[in-house]
Symmetry: C2
DNA sequence: CAGAATCCACGGCGATACTG
DNA sequence: CAGTATCGCCGTGGATTCTG
């Protein structure tokens, strides 16, 4: 029914959408936060501490970005000292799988690096 | 034979290596260059023109980084006006597949965005 | 406790001019 | 042609201070 078949996206599209994902994930701390939340729901202060070096400002901003893109879910409890919990959304979990792919590919990067260090073994029969 | 079994890499390792890949690819122009070279070998000036907005300085730097990591191969021909060609290495081609994975995942991101725009249809039976 | 607001340092990238 | 060198802008992120 539709006109143009979805086959073969233009390179421009691929570049743009690839960038969209990378920008989402390339923030210095996005990956750390997602991996941490993959271990379960955390409070703001817990993330702040467990991630390590991150500043409050950047953590807040990172969380807001991830939330805006539907990666994490924010839940605020109106208690006396406020409590805010963050957890991965379904989309966040699917992102987790992508991160695994990226992690797995890193081994190819390492292999290549190792190969580069001893040129003699490159084509060993 | 080896001592520690490779199972279950530490989260720290995963974060570090994931970052290593992302830093490689997160440069504003890395993806564009790799996608372009996936279309075949190009000369420096061709890349400069075809990629679009990039400056010479940044292009050179991007190419050097990719070359240093074994993603692209540089070949200089000592002719009168110098000619330098860049192409994807085997590792570069394997990176291409990873970029495809990322691109494909972007559709999930879009679906989620669409879902977010009309909350009513979320759980439609 | 969970931010928001402000100030500042740093690095990435573009623009331009110059060179082998 | 394929860079290098220099300058300057701008965005990202840290440190600190303040608040509901």
């Amino acid at each position: 029914m539709a006109s143009t078949p979805p086959a073969a996206p233009s390179e421009l599209q691929m570049i743009q959408r690839t960038h969209a994902v990378l920008e989402l994930v390339a923030g210095r701390w996005s990956v750390d936060v997602v991996y941490l939340l993959a271990g379960g729901t955390r409070r703001y202060s817990e993330i702040l501490y467990e991630v390590g070096e991150i500043s409050k400002k950047t953590l807040t901003q990172t969380l807001r970005t991830l939330e805006a893109h539907g990666i994490v879910t924010r839940h605020a409890y109106p208690e006396v000292p406020v409590r805010v919990e963050y957890s991965l959304s379904p989309l966040g979990w699917s992102l987790t799988r992508l991160l695994m792919d990226i992690f797995e590919w890193s081994s190819e990067l390492d292999q290549d690096r190792a190969r580069a260090r001893r040129p003699g073994l490159a084509l060993a029969a």
